[in-house]
Symmetry: C2
Subunit: 294 residues, 2 copies
């Protein structure tokens, strides 16, 4: 089958690329840990070319994710909400790579909620992909380092908020006093559920977080339970504070979406996990609208 497009989802900590045929079908794919934080200044051309070397140079490349951020390859402006696939297609930022490949960057989205701005780069493409695949709109949660809670209506992304849950967990687990007594272990559903309950409780998050330490010191939380209790506490706080109304579609890594489904269902919210591949489908949809597929 003939290649039509190369799509790249280039995030903070990972690089994924697909060689797509007619209709966005997958002819070949690559996944590496060369996220933008691992790429030295000026090194994006080399990293991309190494990854894409086996694929035809005549194909257009479309790329989304943190690769267009201030710490990425080419910083692009944010597109204000509401936006849809056509708007993203119209706002593609073209760039000629050193290898001669034509790269088209999907730009990020700028939201505003409660008088405060908010930004995303990459998740807009996954939500577009979900809608393009006939998955419908509604409320989306994309868990991760910076979780996104996004609403889409009539095919348009209309609002979103970012919650630093993944980064907060990593800091508290590995850099704070809370992780001192922790030991690794398999996923402990009871510890996670106990954390969810503390996450839903009243009071400042940083007060409830200290219960990790106090419970561990008083022997009420085993060392291997600490990480899952803390994870439940942060996700429980996020879910309770976002007050989801109606069913939620989860897009993302399997281990994370499973945790969020437990948390959402514990809060009485229906949660569905989207099939993998939403970034690729979004890239195909945007590229098709922009007329850059071969």
């Amino acid at each position: 089958m003939t290649g039509r497009l190369i799509g790249i989802d280039w995030g903070t900590s990972s690089f994924r690329a697909w060689l797509m045929g007619p209709g966005g079908t997958v002819l070949d794919e690559i996944g590496t840990a060369r996220g933008i934080l691992s790429v030295p200044q000026g090194g994006f051309d080399v990293v991309m070319e190494q990854a894409l070397a086996p694929w035809p140079k005549r194909l257009a490349v479309i790329a989304s994710g943190m690769v267009t951020s201030r710490n990425g390859w080419v910083e692009t402006p944010y597109l204000p909400l509401p936006l849809d696939a056509a708007a993203l297609a119209g706002a593609l930022v073209p760039h000629r790579a050193a290898s001669g490949r034509a790269v088209h960057f999907v730009t990020g989205a700028l939201g505003n909620a409660g008088g405060l701005p908010d930004v995303m780069r990459g998740e807009e493409t996954e939500i577009i992909g979900h809608m393009a695949a006939g998955g419908g709109d509604g409320l989306f949660v994309l868990p991760g380092t910076h979780s996104k809670w996004a609403r889409a209506e009539a095919g348009r992304l209309t609002s979103f908020r970012t919650c630093m849950t993944g980064e907060g967990f990593a800091l508290l687990r590995h850099q704070s006093i809370l992780g001192r007594l922790a030991e690794p272990g398999p996923f402990d559903p009871a510890a996670f559920a106990r954390g969810l309950a503390a996450g839903r409780a009243a009071g400042p998050l940083l007060v409830r977080a200290f219960s990790v330490r106090a419970l561990a010191l008083t022997g009420q939380l085993a060392p291997a339970q600490i990480a899952d209790y803390l994870s439940g506490l942060l996700i429980g706080d996020e879910v309770a504070g976002m007050v989801p109304t109606g069913p939620v579609t989860l897009i993302g890594r399997g281990d994370l979406t499973a945790r969020y489904r437990i948390a959402l269902e514990a809060a009485g919210t229906e949660a569905r996990i989207a099939a993998p591949g939403m970034a690729r489908l979004g890239l195909w949809d945007i590229a098709t609208r922009a007329g850059i597929t071969g």
Copy 2:
């Protein structure tokens, strides 16, 4: 004047000691950065003796703070609430130092709020000192790495909660994406006040914290304002979530208590800053009741 007692407030990041005369008056004092985290395993005897060398060996030493924690010199049990100076005096843990000095450790306090345990080591002594000096009881806030909100009634410490505000600030400022665009600068009251408003707003803390990044990226927050905005956001969240009723007495470092006074007053709560020296006065009161002063 004759020395009667040596008091030590030995915390996570600092060591303070006083040679006290009759009535707890200060004859001499020492302050160093030899907090317990800087002391190697088995090194507490040497560090203490180096600091106290000029002072008479015959005097009893009384010590409070994180020096009695799991990462300290001698781990002591927690005393459950409610407690008063007499209870702390009765629970002193004696220890003979390698130098022959008699050291008496003030043990920590164990609280329970909302079904979750909480712990403190050192702050109980400062609150006892405030009451011993005639400062009265009521609601106390002791800002720091782990802020304590404590209530004392009729001379007894009856409840408290810990908020990891200081540690959370340090992590977000220096280890997270929020600090990436920050530059140092003098205290900026307007940025701090703007952070306080975001701290009082609804929604998960880790959602509102991301506004630091979004405001900075969109040019609405200058690099030198980031740290004070973040500080205001975390302290504002803490104050709003603790819902203080009635006036608050602040005990602690001048720069921190000044920030908390601004935050409390912005929330409509009267705040008074206690005079320095509360730890020393608490140590003297407890030692006197235990009959260990020379």
